[in-house]
């Protein structure tokens, strides 16, 4: 449009805070490893899901061990923040080497 002003505008977002992400080593052989199961337990089939995963993984890695999802609590419940804060300690306590988490199906 004729004679329309030009607007010089600023950025509407904000800078992101520094990342706490870290890279952990891959695990190609699950034999001898302990897997922690984490779940938001929003569907009634989470227990069935983890039972199926356990059965299949044991066929391929007979020496793998599991820590049941209920050990870590209800991650989508009222204590979510507390549980997430305590997760490192819980994983250490149960000597967990790897985690399988179900976060939304």
């Amino acid at each position: 449009m004729k004679d329309e002003p030009t607007y010089e505008v600023v950025w509407p977002l904000g800078k992101t805070s520094s990342s706490a992400a870290k890279v952990n080593s891959p695990i190609s052989d699950l034999n001898g490893k302990t897997i922690g199961e984490l779940s938001v337990h929003v569907t009634p089939r989470d227990d069935l899901m983890f039972a199926t995963i356990r059965e299949k993984l044991l066929q391929r890695f007979p020496d793998v061990r599991f820590v049941d999802s209920h050990t870590f609590g209800f991650l989508h419940g009222p204590e979510e923040n507390e549980l997430v804060d305590r997760l490192p300690e819980l994983l250490r306590q149960h000597s967990v080497d790897a985690v399988i988490s179900s976060m939304g199906i």
Binding site: V10, L13, I105
Partner: protein
């Protein structure tokens, strides 16, 4: 991601529909890629046999591959400085640029020029560089500056700045859980304004209070959603998974004249603030009741609200409130209804108590909830009310027997029901607003005014008085009547 941060490799199972969200959130946490195992399709529609087949034959392979894969970190993105001009163009070009960069909400924005932003900053004594907090999931800093920028864009007036800052203070509170602002129910923030600022800024608290039409209500409501998009990074389709969701709420201002007239306490005073203080409360709303028309005396009105709202649509969300041990439904009454209650000696607390004691549902409804699939798993319950009573999480009324048909309260604590008086003074209508449990719990902030508030407000009014009258009545709109 919490596991990865704890030094433990992880693989995450997500349904197809959540893949984009999982990847986006991974990037916000600094991961270029995360091991994801996709459950193909929509799990609730799959039979148990199909579910087991997909987990065993599709998901497990991806878990094994994911745990064996190398994770990469995302490079840090460069950020412009606050006063950097990131674009210059005419009105349409600015709109296009903001839409292309996902910086707008789909409505035209007011171009955030430095001059306009600085005008907003005059209405606070806080430093523009002050970091109010960090908003998840994108972990962006919420600053006084970015509040002003987004306030400009939303169409706010500069003098709304103290309220906008109060709203940002709510959003950064971990307890408000803005990271869940993109959850599938699709909740929206609702700002509730109390105190002298309601009149100072010309909020509409009368007829059509919850409709767009008055600049303070409309633009402040729009700001909330815009800030959640731009600073929290909640974008539909990726980090925002609101299944249908709905549009932003305009800000709700309480009719404190009506409240005073009947001798009730304003909403903000019920929340612990002193009378006469200006306060903004922000809470989530996940659904709104149809209009509830009432008549008769207080008991009849209260019972109608029980039947229409309590045993109506709000009951559908009681399961979620009980599950998270947090729930704050809100009832908005027109002033003439408040008058009837007050005339018969009812306070807001009396009405809340009545709603708590008289609104019931079968216990099985609260134990199975919206994720009920009895056809697949007979007898399945996702929460046990008696165990919650034992744990002290629920009042004893929830476990007076073990009969699944026993009636239990829908509102699990009377004191967590909110009541606001607003709307057409002469119409016998109320509406219920369902809050989304632990997500967006009502939090209130004192609105901090600049030292020169009265002077600045007066200047702003004078400037407008010399220009177009924003508050024109229908007869003064310049439209000739037939």
């Amino acid at each position: 991601m919490a596991a990865e941060r704890a030094g433990v490799r992880s693989a995450t199972i997500v349904a197809t529909n959540f893949l984009a969200q999982a990847k986006a959130i991974g990037r916000t946490q600094g991961f270029k890629s995360l091991p994801l195992a996709e459950y193909p399709g929509v799990d609730p529609f799959d039979s148990t046999e199909v579910f087991v087949e997909k987990i065993g034959n599709v998901v497990v392979d991806q878990i094994v591959e994911g745990l064996a894969s190398q994770i990469e970190l995302a490079p840090a993105a460069a950020a412009p400085k606050p006063r950097d001009v990131v674009f210059a163009g005419d009105f349409d070009a600015v709109q296009d640029h903001f839409e292309q960069n996902l910086w707008s909400d789909g409505l035209p924005i007011a171009p955030p020029t430095i001059e306009r932003v600085e005008e907003f900053l005059r209405f606070t004594d806080r430093s523009p560089d002050e970091v109010i907090g960090e908003l998840l999931p994108e972990r962006r800093e919420a600053t006084v500056w970015s509040v002003a920028v987004n306030g400009v864009m939303a169409g706010c007036r500069p003098e709304y700045m103290p309220i906008l800052l109060g709203m940002a203070e709510v959003m950064v509170e971990p307890m408000w859980r803005i990271e869940d602002g993109g959850s599938t129910p699709g909740w929206e923030p609702l700002a509730i304004v109390n105190g002298p600022i309601v009149k100072d800024l010309n909020f509409n608290y009368g007829t059509g209070a919850m409709r767009v039409g008055r600049r303070a209500n409309s633009s402040i409501g729009r700001f909330a959603r815009l800030y959640m998009r731009n600073i929290a990074g909640l974008l539909p389709g990726t980090t925002d998974k609101g299944t249908l969701a709905y549009t932003f709420n305009v800000a709700l201002a309480e009719d404190e004249d009506a409240v005073a007239k009947v001798g009730w306490r304003p909403f903000s005073v019920e929340r612990g603030f002193a009378p006469g203080e200006s306060v903004v409360t922000v809470q989530s709303v996940v659904g709104i009741s149809p209009p509830i028309y009432v008549a008769g005396g207080a008991a009849e009105i209260a019972q109608k609200i029980v039947e229409s709202w309590g045993e109506g649509n709000v009951k559908l969300w009681a399961y979620t409130g009980i599950m998270f041990h947090q729930w704050h439904p809100l009832l908005v009454l027109s002033p003439c209804i408040a008058e009837v209650f007050a005339k018969e000696g009812w306070s807001k607390d009396d009405l809340k108590r009545y709603l708590y004691e008289n609104t019931k549902m079968p216990a099985w409804h609260a134990e199975r909830g919206p994720r009920l699939r009895p056809q697949l798993i007979p007898g399945y319950s996702t929460q046990n009310l008696c165990k919650l009573v034992e744990a002290g999480e629920l009042p004893k009324e929830y476990c007076l027997s073990s009969d699944p048909e026993r009636l239990v309260p829908v509102f699990f604590r009377s004191e967590t029901i909110g009541i606001v008086v607003a709307g057409d003074t002469g119409k016998n209508q109320c509406k219920g607003y369902t809050q989304n449990a632990k997500q967006g719990v009502p939090l209130s902030k004192l609105i901090k005014l600049p030292v020169r508030w009265e002077e600045l407000l007066s200047e702003a009014r004078d400037r407008r008085a010399n220009g177009r009258n924003q508050y024109a009545t229908p007869s003064s709109r310049g439209v000739s009547s037939q």
